[in-house]
């Protein structure tokens, strides 16, 4: 503040000094030419430096110059020379003319300058607004809008502190942004400008300025900014509402697909269980030991299958909710596969198996149980669609030591190329739902798990069958697979 005052005082003093220099220079030139000029011409010529000083430095310096010019004219050119005695009315008139010319010109220029400044201001205001609306067009979230707005306000208006508070419109959390960040002003803000549209009040801009109040121009541009930002906020809210509606509609569609798939899927094993148990409970037939055992085995198998279906549904809902956080650890792939093969022994007994996992395969960074689930679903899927006694082949390898690549190949029916991607979608089936059992979730669960591990999964048609392939990065928290030495130190 003090520096500003000092600077303006300095600028004024400089103006006065320059005015004196200008007049002095003019006087010098006129003095040299005084023999060739008559007095009235000299008086007339004094108007030139006067014009210059007035236009350059404003009214007060203009008036000051008028006095200086008159005194010089009087001192050097009017008789008696080198005195400041005013003799005649004519000299007084010269002085008055000098003064009138200065004041008049300064006012003329002042007005022109003010008009120019207004035009420049208007132009810069328009430019700022244009820049703001351009910047707002590219953003779509609440905090982006707030930061663009705060940035532009800071560029345009001098503030000591700025606070934006934005109300949640569509479920977002209320947003507050202060510049500087942790500086809590205890005083009342200088200006509060609401962010509102015809429909709603969306928040406000609070500005603190150490000047008593902001200039009306600043307030005007702040209000224009607020209107722009409010529109952007409203647009965001509307887009949000629309996407939400779409998401709801989509999830509704999925839910009904799920319900119909699930109720169909659950009824089949339940029908077997009900039939077997009611037969056993019946007093009419006395079942032979073998028949009893068959019925009970059916109940046992079907209840396992029901449990598997429920597990699939839970996995899917976890994937949908984004709650599937793999607990990645360095594991031995063949241990996972061996575990799966033991668990699936009933299913895979009906097929020929070819497992090819090299002994020197590095440790793989995976969640043991989730990876088991991937293998279970891929092998079950192969078993479901392939003819009995056909070959299921599992191959693991590394790609440049950077990725793990696993391929599970079967001799089942091929899928037309356009559908190869879609078989990983929920409830997508190549065949009629009635013909093959399952929730239609198995492959999409595999996809969910593999992607949660940072990998990719896809299907390819291969000669005589189809292959599922997935790759996973061989990296955990930036480390490559550890080599665990047999060397003993314990």
């Amino acid at each position: 503040m003090d520096t500003i005052r000092t600077r303006s005082l300095f600028r004024n003093l400089l103006g006065f000094a320059l005015a004196i220099i200008t007049i002095a220079a003019a006087t010098g030139i006129l003095f040299l030419l005084r023999d060739r000029l008559n007095l009235s011409t000299i008086a007339l010529l004094y108007l030139v430096p006067l014009l210059i000083t007035t236009t350059m430095w404003g009214r007060w310096i203009g008036i000051f110059s008028a006095f200086v010019a008159f005194l010089s004219y009087n001192y050097f050119f009017l008789q008696p020379y080198y005195t400041l005695v005013v003799h005649e009315t004519q000299d007084i008139i010269t002085l008055i003319i000098f003064l009138v010319v200065s004041v008049f010109i300064s006012q003329l220029f002042g007005r022109a300058r003010a008009a120019l400044k207004a035009a420049v201001d208007r132009e810069s205001e328009t430019t700022r607004l244009y820049e703001l609306s351009l910047a707002l067009a590219g953003v779509s979230t609440l905090d982006e809008i707030a930061s663009v707005l705060a940035h532009k306000i800071n560029e345009t208006v001098h503030t000591d502190m700025l606070e934006l508070s934005i109300r949640p419109v569509y479920g977002e959390t209320p947003y507050r942004l202060s510049i500087p960040v942790d500086n809590r002003m205890k005083t009342q803000p200088s200006v509060i400008i609401p962010l509102e549209t015809v429909r709603a009040f969306l928040g406000e801009i609070r500005v603190w300025s150490r000047k008593t109040s902001l200039s009306s121009g600043d307030q005007k541009i702040l209000r224009a900014f607020a209107a722009q930002a409010a529109l952007a906020l409203e647009r965001t809210a509307l887009t949000h509402a629309e996407t939400r509606a779409q998401v709801l509609e989509e999830s509704d569609r999925l839910k009904s697909a799920l319900l119909s798939s699930v109720s169909h899927e659950f009824r089949t094993p339940l029908a077997t269980i009900k039939a077997a148990t009611t037969s056993l409970l019946s007093d009419e037939v006395s079942w032979e030991a073998q028949a009893r055992k068959d019925l009970l085995n059916a109940v046992d198998e079907e209840s396992d299958y029901l449990n598997y279906l429920v597990g699939n549904l839970l996995d899917m809902s976890r994937i949908e909710a984004g709650a599937l956080k793999p607990n990645k650890q360095w594991n031995i792939l063949s241990e996972i596969v061996d575990n799966v093969l033991v668990r699936l022994h009933r299913t895979i007994g009906r097929f020929r198996l070819d497992i090819c996992i090299p002994d020197d395969l590095p440790l793989v960074p995976v969640d043991f149980s989730q990876m088991e689930q991937v293998f279970i679903n891929l092998i079950n899927n192969s078993a479901k669609y392939s003819p009995e006694g056909s070959l299921i082949k599992l191959e693991a390898s590394t790609q440049n030591g950077k990725n793990l690549r696993v391929k599970i190949e079967n001799e089942g029916p091929q899928v037309i190329p356009e559908h190869l991607d879609r078989i990983f979608d929920k409830f997508y089936r190549v065949t009629e739902p009635e013909r093959v059992s399952g929730t239609g979730l198995g492959l999409s669960i595999c996809k969910g798990i593999v992607e949660a591990h940072g990998g990719h999964i896809w299907a390819e048609n291969v000669p005589g069958g189809i292959a599922f392939i997935f790759t996973l990065p061989l990296e955990l928290d930036g480390h490559s697979p550890p080599q665990i030495e047999e060397a003993e130190n314990i």
Binding site: D300, S303, N307, G311, N327, Q329, W330, N331, I332, S334, E335, D338, N339, L341, V342, L363, D367, F368, S369, E372, P482, I484, E486, E488, I490
Partner: protein, 231 residues
């Protein structure tokens, strides 16, 4: 075998209680039931059962809490029987004093096997600790640091032996990864599951007839390992 052991079942599902009463009664166990945690804790203190079967989802308190409170006054084996199949739930229960964990739906054979393990452990812990552990054709001599398979000595490295000895002295019980790492490698290795994986794979190659279908050293995915001494 003397099957008149007393089992306390804490579960709020009447169907499960009914089934367990029938099944366990049929195997000549004495069964007491409790419908919530409060009642379970009271019965555990008064009746002094030999084994407790505990559900995690109880109406009045969480099963983990019940587990912790039980451990304040009794060392009775606790078998968790729950629909929660998350590894984190299992590990949490085992870390809070449970001895074993079985997921619903369960097979009766599995439950009876776990009960037998718990009972045997109970009898053992009252007597002298065993120094020689036998399982099938495998003999582990803990004091002499000797392991033999069908009478032939199996050469194990020191770490392999420590690992096997730790698992074998808690035979048939599931031990969590962290627990094993903590005891065999030391606390600073408790998160390095890869050590366990690699050494377990080496042990299987040396001890199992088919390392791909192990019968002694069984993985409990996401939880830990179990050394089996009975089929």
């Amino acid at each position: 075998m003397n099957n008149s052991a007393h089992i306390l079942v804490i579960d709020d599902e009447p169907q499960i209680l009914r089934a367990l009463r029938t099944i366990l009664g049929g195997h000549r166990y004495r069964v007491t039931t409790a419908r919530n945690g409060e009642e379970g804790l009271a019965l555990a203190a008064v009746e002094k059962p030999d084994i407790i079967i505990l559900d995690l989802g109880l109406p009045d308190m969480d099963g983990i809490q019940v587990c912790e409170q039980l451990r304040q006054f009794t060392e009775v084996p606790i078998i968790i029987l729950s629909v929660r199949s998350n590894e984190s739930d299992k590990v949490k229960a085992l870390d809070h004093g449970a001895d074993d964990y079985l997921v619903k739906p369960f097979g009766t054979e599995e439950l009876l096997a776990r009960l037998r393990v718990a009972l045997r452990h109970l009898v053992k812990s009252k007597g002298e600790p065993e120094t020689v552990i036998t399982s099938g054709d495998l003999v582990i001599d803990l004091t002499r640091h000797l392991v033999s398979r069908s009478g032939n000595e199996v050469k194990l490295t020191a770490t392999e032996f420590n690992l096997l000895a730790y698992l074998a002295s808690h035979a048939n019980r599931v031990l969590t990864h962290q627990n094993i790492l903590n005891h065999v490698w030391g606390i600073e290795y408790r998160d390095n599951v890869e050590y366990l994986r690699v050494f377990m794979s080496q042990l299987r190659k040396k001890l199992e007839t088919d390392p791909k279908q192990p019968v002694y050293l069984i993985s409990e995915p996401g939880i830990g390992y179990r050394f089996i001494t009975e089929s």
